[in-house]
C-alpha cells in the first residue's frame, strides 16, 4: 500500500500510456511527464506568490492580500487575468525580435532544469549520468535571456540592470558550481538520482544527508548564498533594484511578457531549491528512518517549500546590497571559502571513518570562517561604509 502511494504518479503514467500502441509509448510517457511538469510548477508559482505576499506581510506587521477569495487565495488568478488583458507595449526603438524572445528563452531554459531533478523515487524525467552538469548548463543560459532583455529594450535602466545581472550571475555561478563539486567528490557521481541514493542511508534513525557533515553544512550555506544571488532574490536583487533602476532588465516589459519574467524568476527559485534539496538535504529521502512510509514525493516537495519559505524569510529581513559589496562578498569571501571547503571535503574523503575527521574538518572550517571574516572586516570590505572625506 505504501509502495503504491509512493509510486502513484509512476503507476498512473504507466496506466495512461498503456492505452497507446507500443511504438508510441516511450514518446507518450515523456510527453505526459513534460505536461505534468509544465502545468504543476506554474501552479506552484501561483501558490508561492500568494505565500510570499502573505509571509512578507506578516513579517511587516501587515495582513497581506485578503480580498480576492478566502484568505486572498485567488489573488494570483486575478493577477494572471490582469496581466493577460494588459496591453503589450514594445518600445519603438527596441529590437523587436530579441525583445520578444527574451522571456521565452528564460522560461524554456528554466523549465529544462526540472528535467533532471528527481522529485521522488523513480520520479525523474531524464535520468542523465551528468544530470548536474546539464542542470548548470541550463541554469547558466538564463543569463543570456536576461542580457537579451536588457540589451534589446534600448533603455538605460534595462541595460544597467542587465549588466548588473550578468556580473552578479557569473560571479555567483562559480560559487554555485564549486559548492556542488564537494557533493560530487563524496558521492562520486554527477547523476542526481545516484546522489540522492548515496544520502538515503540511516545511522539508527538519523539520515546520512550531506548537510549533517561539516563540509556539507559549509557547502550548503555557500550554495544557499549563491542560489539567492543566482535567482536575483533579495538581498541580491540589484538587477531589478526598483529604487534605482525602475525594474532593471524587465523595465520595458508589460502584460504577459512581464508575467513570464516573473514566472521565470520563481521557477528558477524552485529548480535551484530542488537542486539544493537533492544535493544537500537528501532529495526525496525521509528525515528519519521510521518516516520511510510517507511517499517520497511528499518529502521532496516539503523540503522545496521549506526552502521557498527561507527565501521569503530572507527577503523580509535583509536590505539590498550595494554593487561593490556584492562583488566583494562573492570574490573575497564566498569563493575562497568554497575553495577551502573543497580541500576539506577531500580531507574528509581520505581520513576514513571515525571521529577524528569530524573534529579536524569542523575546526578548519570554523577557524577559516572567523579568520576570513575578521580579515575582510579589518580591510573594510564588509561592515559599515567608511567615507574617506565626509566624516
Amino acid at each position: 500500500m505504501t509502495g503504491t502511494l509512493d509510486q502513484i504518479f509512476v503507476l498512473l503514467q504507466h496506466w495512461l500510456v498503456g492505452f497507446l500502441p507500443a511504438g508510441l509509448q516511450p514518446v507518450a510517457a515523456v510527453l505526459l511527464s513534460v505536461v505534468v511538469i509544465v502545468c504543476f510548477f506554474p501552479a506552484l508559482f501561483a501558490f508561492a506568490v500568494w505565500l510570499e505576499r502573505k509571509g512578507l506581510g506578516r513579517m511587516q506587521n501587515r495582513l497581506g492580500p485578503n480580498r480576492v477569495g478566502p484568505f486572498g487565495l485567488l489573488q494570483p488568478i486575478a493577477d494572471g487575468i490582469k496581466s493577460l488583458t494588459k496591453e503589450d507595449v514594445v518600445p519603438l526603438s527596441a529590437d523587436a525580435a530579441v525583445h520578444f524572445l527574451a522571456p521565452l528563452v528564460l522560461v524554456v531554459a528554466v523549465f529544462m532544469g526540472f528535467a533532471v531533478l528527481p522529485m521522488g523515487r523513480n520520479m525523474v524525467l531524464v535520468d542523465m549520468d551528468a544530470g548536474l552538469l546539464f542542470f548548470f548548463a541550463m541554469g547558466a543560459s538564463t543569463e543570456l535571456s536576461v542580457f537579451m532583455a536588457g540589451w534589446s529594450s534600448r533603455n538605460k535602466y534595462s541595460l544597467l540592470g542587465a549588466m548588473r545581472a550578468v556580473a552578479q550571475m557569473i560571479s555567483y555561478e562559480v560559487v554555485l558550481v564549486l559548492s556542488s563539486v564537494a557533493v560530487v567528490m563524496i558521492a562520486g557521481s554527477l547523476s542526481l538520482t545516484r546522489i540522492v541514493e548515496a544520502q538515503n542511508h540511516y545511522s539508527g534513525i538519523f539520515p546520512h544527508w550531506y548537510i549533517f557533515t561539516p563540509w556539507g553544512f559549509a557547502g550548503f550555506i555557500m550554495y544557499a548564498i549563491a542560489a539567492t544571488a543566482e535567482t536575483n532574490r533579495s538581498p541580491f536583487d540589484l538587477p531589478e533594484g526598483e529604487s534605482e533602476l525602475v525594474a532593471g532588465y524587465h523595465t520595458e516589459y508589460s502584460g504577459f511578457k512581464f508575467a513570464l519574467f516573473f514566472l521565470g524568476e520563481y521557477l528558477a527559485m524552485f529548480s535551484i531549491s530542488g537542486l539544493g534539496t537533492t544535493l544537500f538535504l537528501g532529495g526525496w529521502s525521509a528525515p528519519f528512518s521510521f518516516l520511510g512510509w510517507v511517499p517520497s514525493w511528499i518529502w521532496f516537495f516539503s523540503k522545496l517549500m521549506l526552502s521557498i519559505f527561507v527565501f521569503i524569510w530572507l527577503r523580509g529581513t535583509l536590505p539590498r546590497l550595494r554593487q561593490d559589496q556584492l562583488m566583494n562578498f562573492a570574490w573575497k569571501f564566498v569563493l575562497p571559502f568554497t575553495l577551502l571547503n573543497l580541500l576539506v571535503t577531500a580531507l574528509w574523503r581520505f581520513m576514513g571513518e571515525g571521529w577524528e575527521r569530524w573534529v579536524v574538518c569542523s575546526a578548519i572550517l570554523a577557524v577559516a570562517y572567523v579568520a576570513l571574516a575578521r580579515l575582510e572586516m579589518f580591510k573594510g570590505h564588509f561592515g559599515p561604509r567608511r567615507y574617506r572625506y565626509a566624516e
Partner: protein
Amino acid sequence: MLGEGILKGLAETARNFAGSYFSAKRLTTVEYPEQRIAPLEAARVFPFLVYDGSDWEAGLRCVACQICEKECPPKCIFIEKSKDKKPDALGKPQFYPARFDIDVSVCMSCQICAEVCPFDAIKMNTEFELATDDRFGGLMLDRSQLARPNEYYRQIHPAEAAAVDAHLAGEKAKADAKAKAAAEAAAAKAAPPAGGGD
C-alpha cells in the same frame, strides 16, 4: 562575528511572523472599510459652517463678513453677501451669506479661515470620505452641504467646542446685560424722577 546581524534580523522577522497570529501589537493593520478608528480630536480635513438651533438656514453663525474669503491662501471660498439683514444669535441685525461655496479640490486644509473667523462660524471637519464621480460639481460644496449643527461640532472637537460655547455664552450674557442696562437707562430717561422739576 560575521553573520551575527543577519541571524538577529532573521529572529526579529520570525518573531513578527509568529507574533502576528497572537498579538495585536505585531499586526497593526486596520481593515479600513470594515474596521474604523475614530478620528483624532486634532484631525482636520475641510471646513464646515456651524449653525445653532435646528434650522440650518436660520441658525448659520456666518454674517458674510468675507474675512475668510480674503484670507484663504488658495482662494477656495466664494461668498455672496445678502441684500437684507436678519437678527443673529445676539439679536443684532446682520447680513447673512446668500451663497457660501468652498471648492474642496482647491482647499489645502490650512485652517486659516477657522482661525480668522470672529464669529466662530467656520470650523474644521473630520470627514474625509468625499470621493465623487463628478470632479467639478461634486467637489464644490455649497452652504447646505457645509452646514453642520453645533452638536456635531461638540462631538468631533469636544474641548475646542466647549471653549467656543463658553466664549459665546459670555458674549451673550454681556450683550444681554448691556441691553438690560440700556433698557433701564432708556426707561429712566423716558420717565424723569418723581421728585424732580421744580
